[in-house]
């Protein structure tokens, strides 16, 4: 099945245009972050701390136009942090989802094709992983890795990427395995075996192209999942970097905004609302696109 074929069909749907538009906007914000953000997201202007958004004038300290969405308790510009957070989110999505997709595809192909005892024990293992609460599993992996890596802005991201991949490859491996059960018995596989093709060649040349659409839909669905994971962990207080409870996030991310926004709910709710809305738009665009693609593949 050609994975690219249904694009023409789904482009007729309005939801898909909405998705692509949102993705394009968020993507260009992520790429252009250094040029469009009004301030350095890390710079602290203590004199300007805790400013309300620029349109609020009733309170004792009116907002100023220089900081459109106000500042946090360290005097850092919220808008700039939001813009740079988009960058972090896209990096996380790229790295985390590729890693998870790689593991899931390899395991799914091998177990689905090999069958037998290997398959049975792999399924048992996947059952175990899926009976664990995924978010706790990810948190524990983050906690294990966090102090082992040298502290740098990268290490927090790496722990989260590994934590996400450790949990989420299972669902893709399962999907691929189920799909292979039907594909495996088809004539072209038998033909490939009978002319003596190596198992690796059969898996990569004959089986993988037939499940590529499954992988694609899974990837699009998984992108919001990792960004959401980071946000939830930020809200709960297990940071991408930094300490638990009261530690400060050193990487600018949406999760970090949730973390600091939680204590500023009454003074400046925008610190929670703006990243929430970004998450909402991002999640909607990816899931609606995945949904449309899946529908188109099913029709084919």
């Amino acid at each position: 099945m050609n994975a690219l074929l249904p694009w023409k069909r789904i482009l007729r749907r309005r939801a898909v245009w909405f998705s692509l538009l949102v993705m394009a906007v968020l993507g260009s914000v992520a790429v252009l972050a250094p040029w469009i953000s009004p301030h350095d997201p890390y710079r602290q202007e203590i004199a300007q701390h805790g400013l309300p958004p620029s349109w609020v004038h009733e309170t004792g300290r009116p907002g100023v136009a220089e900081y459109p969405l106000g500042t946090d308790r360290f005097g850092r510009d919220i808008l700039s942090r939001l813009i740079y957070g988009t960058r972090t989110a896209f990096f996380l999505a790229l790295a985390g989802v590729s890693l998870a997709a790689l593991i899931g595809t390899v395991v799914g192909l091998i177990t689905g094709y090999a069958g037998g005892r290997l398959d049975a024990s792999a399924v048992l293992f996947m059952d175990m992983i899926q009976s664990l609460p995924g978010i706790m599993f990810a948190v524990i992996i983050v906690l294990i890795l966090r102090t082992r890596l040298t502290p740098s802005w990268l290490h927090g991201m790496v722990t989260l990427v590994v934590g996400f991949a450790a949990v989420s490859w299972v669902s893709l491996a399962r999907l691929i395995r189920i799909n292979l059960l039907q594909i495996k018995s088809q004539l072209f596989v038998e033909a490939a075996i009978s002319i003596g093709a190596a198992p690796r060649r059969i898996m990569l040349r004959h089986l993988l192209p037939n499940v590529s659409h499954v992988v694609l839909v899974w990837i699009i669905n998984a992108i919001p999942a990792i960004i959401l994971l980071e946000a939830v962990l930020g809200y709960i207080g297990v940071g991408v970097t930094g300490a638990v409870d009261g530690g400060e996030f050193t990487v600018v991310s949406w999760g970090g905004m949730f973390f600091s926004g939680r204590s500023a709910l009454s003074s400046n709710p925008l610190m929670l609302i703006t990243p929430s809305l970004c998450l909402l738009l991002m999640s909607m665009s990816f899931i609606l696109l995945a949904d449309a693609l899946e529908g188109a593949y099913r029709q084919q």
Binding site: S131, V238, L265
Partner: protein, 343 residues
């Protein structure tokens, strides 16, 4: 049916043992111990400040943390000999061990025993179970009728609007929904309390709805697709042709045959709800076991982590088995296929 149930049981036990082992190894791989002060503002730090090495050793010994890892696992899972030589039974007997964080109370006490003078429903477990049941009731009670109604007339305007609305609902993360609900309903409009005491049913509506939205939309969509599929079947045309009342056609022919995919989809949806519960409970400061879980993981309360993981895994596994058995009962084809040894 009996051999089927026996193999299922064996599998369930294997999965639970595996889950316990994985979680045990992972949580012991987290650096630090329950009395160390790695994290600046946790309760552990306050203990850590005044705790000398000998006290720490004594505590280690009391909770069995000085034993080698494999002995700690067997001690937790099967049991061990106490100081006076008597044997105490571990998790296999339902003894989940003492909590480290809440000194003097056992894990089962914390999770299952209600506060003084309250009923079982007011225990940690009771709260969580009630929230899950409430949300499932909303999800199934709204999802199936909605899907049925919009599936019966798939080309009507209202059905199309429902379809778009359901797609939108599916794509909203419940974390964001829960958060926005707090900001708008509690902080701005003051319709709900920010910190309710969870005694009146009104307090439950918002968290239950937030928890129910995703499963409700999923169930409604599956129902809709399944009903549309069944409506095209020959036996429905036959039923109509022989002049059956429309209500009989819908209930006896359409719904019954559409039910199987609905039920197979409800299982994973419910399991996802357990995972969402951990997040929703934390957002709303809900007194269920989700909050215990977070603080246990962050403070390395080993027996508590193990106990909660086992309870969670048991719930997931039981839901999966129930779904499997129910779909066997509903669809004779699955039963026959299994009897003939087909996959």
């Amino acid at each position: 049916m009996l051999p089927f149930l026996l193999t299922r049981l064996l599998r369930v036990v294997t999965v639970l043992v595996g889950v316990a082992l994985i979680m045990f190894l992972l949580m012991h791989a987290i650096p630090g111990n329950p009395w160390s002060s790695d994290y600046s503002s946790s309760p552990r730090a306050m203990i850590g400040l005044s705790m000398d090495k000998s006290t720490q050793r004594e505590l280690d010994r009391r909770f069995g943390l000085d034993l080698p890892l494999w002995r700690q696992f067997t001690r937790y899972a099967i049991g061990d000999f106490a100081e006076d030589g008597s044997f105490f039974c571990g998790a296999v007997c339902g003894n989940l061990g003492p909590s480290i964080q809440q000194r003097g109370r056992s894990v089962s006490e914390i999770l299952f025993e209600p506060p003084e003078g309250k009923t079982f429903l007011q225990s940690r477990f009771g709260y969580s179970i009630r929230l899950i049941l409430f949300a499932s009731l909303i999800a199934v009670g709204l999802g199936i009728p909605l899907g049925l109604l919009s599936g019966m007339q798939p080309y009507s305007m209202s059905s199309r609007i429902t379809s778009v609305g359901l797609a939108a609902l599916i794509s909203i993360p419940n974390f964001v929904l829960g958060l926005l609900a707090i900001i708008v309903l509690a902080s701005w409009l003051s319709i709900i309390k920010v910190l309710p005491d969870w005694d009146s049913a009104g307090d439950w509506i918002v968290p239950a709805l937030v928890l129910a939205v995703l499963p409700m939309a999923t169930i409604a969509r599956v129902t809709r697709a399944s009903v549309i599929n069944v409506l095209n079947a020959d036996y429905v045309r036959t039923a109509r042709a022989k002049g059956l009342a429309e209500s009989r056609v819908v209930l006896d022919h359409v719904l019954r045959n559409a039910l199987l995919p609905i039920i197979t989809f409800t299982g994973p949806t419910l399991v996802e709800m357990f995972a969402a519960l951990l997040i929703i409970e934390s957002i709303y400061s809900f007194p269920g076991f989700g909050r215990e879980y977070w603080s246990a993981v962050l403070n390395l309360d080993y027996p508590m982590i193990m106990g909660l993981t086992l309870i969670y895994a048991t719930a997931v596994v039981v839901v999966n088995v129930v779904i499997e058995v129910v779909s066997e009962i509903l669809d004779p084809r699955i039963r026959m296929a299994r009897r003939q040894g087909l996959p």
